[in-house]
Symmetry: C2
Subunit: 588 residues, 2 copies
């Protein structure tokens, strides 16, 4: 075998990412969004997704029945975007230094860009920028082109007392990018997305070194050209970056096969207020005492700027297959999942939706006509009449298999056997594939319904097996109670799904929506209700977050999960290694 | 499913460990050790191991031929154990406080115990206590019975300025337990082994909470009574503790199936100078921002005292099988291993020894007579004459399979196919089992040969695939060069094996031995040679350590692997969270 360097492939530098294809005020690409057609059907515009371009006649009626509100297409909550953007503060000495480091096209004070760099995709952010206001945003955006640029920027910030905020995809859902309102210093957003190269691919050692600003979809497409994948596929993969994944301690949908971010990343290169964290070699695994590079995982922009990382890469799988299994009840589905972890190797991705999400997925099916419609009716009759599934109880499990032919065959056999044991019925690979890909389209739903006075948000947790079902029930019950106690309109819509499996428990993802027309300060009402939900999650033995992280949204809960000494350790470490708080985004 | 607490099993408190069964001055149990019989055969006394009680006629002759020295059984380097033990320092206020916390039988100033608590099992430690001296040892040993005891001890140490050193199995091989010679404060060793309970076992959530002083072999036997294993099986498992595993960032021989310590441990409870790191619930996996509890991994006693941890547990495997495969050359063996990681799921444990270790393993076979001897000769002829294996090149791969019948069958098929591709020949499960279990007996060899003027030590690294073979060759070459340059007697014995596989590389374990009669300051000469080896390892792209850690032995190399800012971060964090250096063992 040759030495590491001679076996490496140096891919070409990718074309610069065109940020203008992405909407600044809602999730996703500009060319895609839900709209209501004159005939009352809903459609996802554009042609990016499997779901795009199909008429969806059942969605609106279903939403109305769920919320108990007669949602009218013409009744729109018109957004006033952009809100007033606070004037930019200028630290002249820093600005002069920056102009020595970067060319003019790598520096921006554009107000819309400043606004965008000051928020993520929490409900609060999405609502505030359209219907409210935002107190503080970055005063400047810089676009370093190299690690050396980043080093110079950090040195200048430290010297001239400027607050730096690393920026990747801006997709966090924890208000991690919200600038502290009381930050008196100039705030510069460091947009990493020009550090987007795959520096090298090493096929012999199955590693790659990738810059932190590389966006997930580009990493995937470029690695695929060489027959590899990074294996990390969060729901935000189209927009989020490697640096963001590390900083949020992310999880990907196929972690059963590839691991979570802490399993995939071998080494990080970080620019800090005290210099660079770096090393000359990468080890498959090592014991080197206290390792500060691991502190960056989950650090959410508070410790430094990650500029690149060495990650494991995996050959593209020989086989990729989808499947969907219907279960008569959520309880049976959970028992199936539990046995799957105990008696078999779970496939790459396994998700179980509850009945409401199953119903939602049915409304996101295009209108079927003729033979297709007849077939669908027959399927439905078969499931309900012949197999005796109750449409108000049944749930669906979506599976994605990746691997060698033999491995996948083994996994499928085990799934079949266990599904039968728990009364499951295969719904076919086409349903499985559609179910898996739905997630990319569904992400556009929240911003669409916001324009119709419906607030919706997701939140998640992880919990041991024995408490999973009770946690789901408790959260639904608590939200309903809090909603009724506040005499809010109609009914709340609360649904959950299990999105990740571990031998020790699961990750649970909730959606919560309600119609707020006539409600005073609806975003605050939402926040109270989510707070109650999180309280119930913690009381039910769930964690603060499986993968979204803490940001500002959940920092208030940390004393419930960390002892005082634990919190002191974190605060003391931050003070020690960043004494002038250069990285002052104030998360956690 | 029921809530977590109602599904838990509370095992009975184990009998107190009898430390007197363990040798204080050499590795292992008192009832076991190598000895030379009148007829020149070597034998492992006692009856603990598969190897015990068998005459081994070939070992001594082989050692002589390897070292080029006529090692005589009567020529013994008589040890003078114990060395002079420095008088105990007494901090009276601390002692008074301790006597309020602990009963008399939980406090010791016994000199031999103090000595033992001041060293591990490096060559330097083993040599110094027999043929040299030791500058500083703990002045006191305390044996807390509960976490509350530990809290009180740490508070007293902080109040009265005493240095605390956590102690588990005392099996480190990095001089981690060596007390700083210039430590003026009283040093109290906190022996954790009375915190040895499995607090609860949770079969539904596949977790257990175990106290940090529980020793590996007891954890295994107690969990097995309930049908579980922790999966972590380092070579030191008979003596090392859960707390020690965490503090050294340990790896176990079956990590392919169960993961390394960082994969197995879900939560740690730590007593620190600022209070306890603890939390109310355990999550399967979570994103909670900066998580100080992870800093304890690899902290080697410098940050606090781990008192218990929640770990994953696994059901005992349905099937456990051994195998051994001979390969014509080390190179072919490595290629086999590489393909195994790329094309299959490696079995629970896979190790490849080089030719010298293969020869050594042959000398550790009991004398065969009659039919068994004939059979062995026939096997040897078959391998060498019929299959054409060169006895001076051939190597052996030992495999351990664990899992379901189906999974193991699949792994065996893959191994067979790949072994054939690389010219491998199955040597049978009996050879596999013996090969795997040899490691427990071999651990006694080093201390035995030390009594005959032979110094021997192991050291290890991890390295990407592409550099693995070159690293092995470079290290062997470098030691030979340095040995010849110093005109040392006979020849150095250097051998290596690959002990762990990753998709990105391997762990490599070296043994190095030489005969030192007539050599001035042999332990120092050894240290120089190991230093040269480590230099060569680093230059060849290997890590400082795969799993042994840093301690004092390798702290000098940290600047070669960590940038200055990385080292500052570690130092600043330590200063911030333990400002009066209560945990002053000064590792890393």
């Amino acid at each position: 075998m040759t030495d590491a360097e001679s076996s490496r492939i140096i891919p070409p530098t990718p074309a610069p990412d065109d940020d203008h294809t992405i909407s600044p005020d809602v999730w996703g690409f500009r060319d895609t969004g839900f709209t209501i057609l004159p005939n009352g059907s809903v459609m996802l515009t554009g042609s990016r997704y499997a779901l795009s371009g199909s008429e969806l006649p059942d969605l609106l009626p279903w939403v109305r029945s769920q919320l108990g509100i007669d949602v009218s297409p013409s009744d729109k909550h018109e957004p006033a975007y952009p809100p007033a953007i606070p004037p930019a503060r200028a630290n002249e000495r820093f600005l002069r230094a920056i102009r020595e480091i970067l060319p003019v096209d790598a520096i921006s004070t554009d107000p819309i860009a400043r606004l965008r760099h000051g928020h993520g995709h929490t409900l609060d952010a999405m609502y505030s920028i359209k219907y409210g206001c935002i107190e503080r945003v970055p005063d400047l955006i810089v676009f370093p082109r190299t690690t050396e640029d980043v080093v110079a920027i950090v040195e200048a910030a430290a010297e001239f007392d400027v607050c730096l905020v690393p920026y990747g995809g801006g997709t966090n859902v924890t208000d991690a990018l919200r600038c502290p309102a009381d930050e008196q210093r100039m705030i510069a957003s460091v947009d990493l997305r020009r550090l987007n190269r795959i520096l090298w691919i090493d096929p012999v050692n199955r590693m790659a070194r990738i810059q932190a600003g590389a966006v997930g979809r580009h990493i995937q497409s470029q690695l695929a050209q060489y027959g590899f994948t990074i294996g990390h596929e969060p729901d935000s993969v189209e927009f989020s970056t490697l640096g963001g994944w590390i900083a949020t301690h992310a999880s990907g949908m196929k972690k059963n096969r590839y691991g979570n971010i802490e399993d995939i990343v071998l080494d990080v290169h970080v620019v800090t207020a005290r210099g660079e964290l770096s090393r000359p070699n990468v080890a498959p695994r090592e014991s080197v005492g206290i390792d500060p590079r691991r502190w960056l995982f989950g650090s959410e922009g508070t410790l430094g700027i990650i500029t690149d990382a060495v990650v494991k890469i995996f050959p593209l799988p020989e086989v990729e297959r989808y499947d969907a299994i219907l279960f008569p009840t959520f309880e049976k589905g959970v028992s199936f999942l539990h046995d799957l972890t105990r008696e078999a190797t779970p496939p790459a991705s396994v998700r179980l939706v509850d009945n409401l999400q199953f119903q939602l997925s049915q409304t996101l099916k295009p209108k079927a006509t003729g033979l297709a419609a007849a077939k669908r009716r027959a399927e439905k009759l078969f499931v309900t009449r012949v197999k005796g599934f109750d449409p108000s109880q049944m749930v669906a499990c979506t599976l994605v298999y990746e691997g060698s032919r033999e491995q996948v065959a083994g996994e499928e056999r085990a799934v079949s056997r266990l599904a039968r044991r728990h009364g499951g019925m295969r719904a076919g690979s086409e349903n499985g594939k559609k179910g898996y890909q739905l997630k990319f389209g569904i992400a556009y739903l929240r911003d669409f319904i916001m324009k119709h006075y419906i607030l919706a948000e997701s939140f998640e947790t992880s919990v041991p097996w024995s408490q999973a079902e009770a946690l789901c029930a408790n959260v639904k019950r608590r939200i309903a109670e809090e909603y009724a106690a506040r005499k809010l309109p109609g009914r709340p819509f609360v649904t959950c799904r299990i999105t990740q499996l571990y031998s020790t428990g699961v990750a649970v993802y909730f959606y919560f929506a309600f119609h707020h027309k006539g409600v005073n300060r609806p975003a605050d009402v939402y926040a109270e209700l989510e707070h109650a939900a999180r309280d119930e999650i913690l009381k039910s033995g769930g964690s603060l977050s499986h993968h979204h992280g803490i940001g500002k949204l959940r920092s208030g809960y940390l004393p419930r999960v960390f002892s005082p000494a634990t919190m002191e350790w974190a605060a003391e470490m931050k003070r020690a290694i960043d004494p002038s708080n250069v990285f002052g985004i104030a998360n956690q």
